[in-house]
Symmetry: C2
Subunit: 218 residues, 2 copies
DNA sequence: GTCTATAATTAGATAGAC
DNA sequence: GTCTATCTAATTATAGAC
């Protein structure tokens, strides 16, 4: 935007804000339309900046995509930080329930996260390998640790490969919000409403952890 | 392909097979790359036919997409016909378990089905509305009927909006196979192997229906 | 650092020969 | 019915002015 008339040295601040606005627009566009469906023109327009600034700042479309993904995972870490750091909860089951609820609320507030993941995970590609190696594997391993710790309290029989639990959790939480526009047309209900989000979290906690009374029923 | 030299009237058969080959290639391409990512050139090449035959037979790319989706839902109906028609199973729980297993096996064998659905359901578009109105709503309503019938036997508390169960089922079954390439890189395991498919079905039946001993525990 | 203007590529669609 | 050749539009990337 304004550059020639600025006093001298909040050029840095302006450039940073330009960069951020491009990243915001890119994250929205990539998650909604996929990598191929999102155009750099639409991203530049949405960010209110010139098309040429995208290769200038990000070394092309794919570099922009990588930084947008980094940002999405940063959002996830920030969004789960408080619920992960909270050790005040009573027993194991309550902590697990808190974690599930926290993830449901995060995805409801950030459907773009799960849309990015599902867009890339469905085919083998350079982007998929980068995404798995850089972001998904650490997330998967952390989740597996939690699953093994929680095996006594979850309703999943012990000894089952944690990948099943991981994908059941990812899918059953994510798809409702991934498919929010479909759900709206299908049912008339916007799944991102608070009441729906909480009902989904309730249903999942019930299914995955059982109710309080039957703890360790399996 | 051969056309001038053919005797006279298996032109119909040839044309039908050309049409079918294009549809096969289109279903694979659309599900793997999405509508924007799939190119008509790639589809024509994969089908071994000329590019011009796509607008000729299908009135353009979007018409081709619609017929490919029709075919995918035809596959679903055929794939579930036997398990839906089977009334020989003993009790309600066993029939529900059979249905869940049948759907898991279908998606494992036809990941393109769930990829098409997830590609379009994530944003509002003409294609999404067509898909929901023509195919998803009937499927949703049939599923809701089964859910209400099965409410006594499922582990979901009664009175919860069936949309939660529908999306939990769709997501927890679908994502493992939707993300098969990711899963392979992440875990080294191909989720489409028989043992993995059956383990996933086992885990889901256990979580959604409970084990036999605690039937109606809720 | 941001813009305008444009190059180079690729997309889907079509005209016309056979 | 199927092919070759081509058209128009839209894509990403870049050169160069300011």
């Amino acid at each position: 935007m304004a550059s020639a008339a600025t006093p001298r040295a909040d050029r840095h601040a302006e450039a940073a804000s330009t960069r951020e606005r491009i990243l915001d627009a890119a994250l929205a566009a990539f998650s909604e339309h996929g990598f191929d469906g999102a155009t750099t023109r639409a991203i530049a327009t949405r960010a209110g900046v010139n098309l040429g600034l995208i290769p200038y700042y990000f070394e092309g479309k794919e570099g922009l995509w990588r930084e947008a993904v980094d940002r999405a995972f940063g959002d996830l870490r920030r969004g789960l930080a408080d619920v992960l750091g909270d050790t005040s909860a009573g027993n194991d089951r309550e902590r697990a329930a808190l974690l599930i609820r926290g993830y449901v609320r995060f995805v409801a507030a950030h459907p773009e996260f799960v849309r990015l993941m599902h867009e890339e995970g469905k085919r083998d590609s350079r982007r998929m390998r980068w995404l798995v190696d850089r972001h998904v594997r650490p997330l998967f391993e952390a989740t597996c640790n939690l699953i093994e710790q929680g095996e006594r309290i979850s309703r999943l029989p012990a000894g089952v490969d944690p990948l099943h639990f991981y994908y059941i959790l990812a899918g059953s939480v994510g798809i409702l919000f991934h498919q929010a526009p479909e759900c709206r047309r299908l049912t008339g209900v916007d799944p991102r409403q608070d009441v729906v989000v909480e009902a989904h979290a309730d249903a999942l906690v019930h299914l995955l952890l059982g109710n309080e009374l039957e703890e360790n029923a399996t």
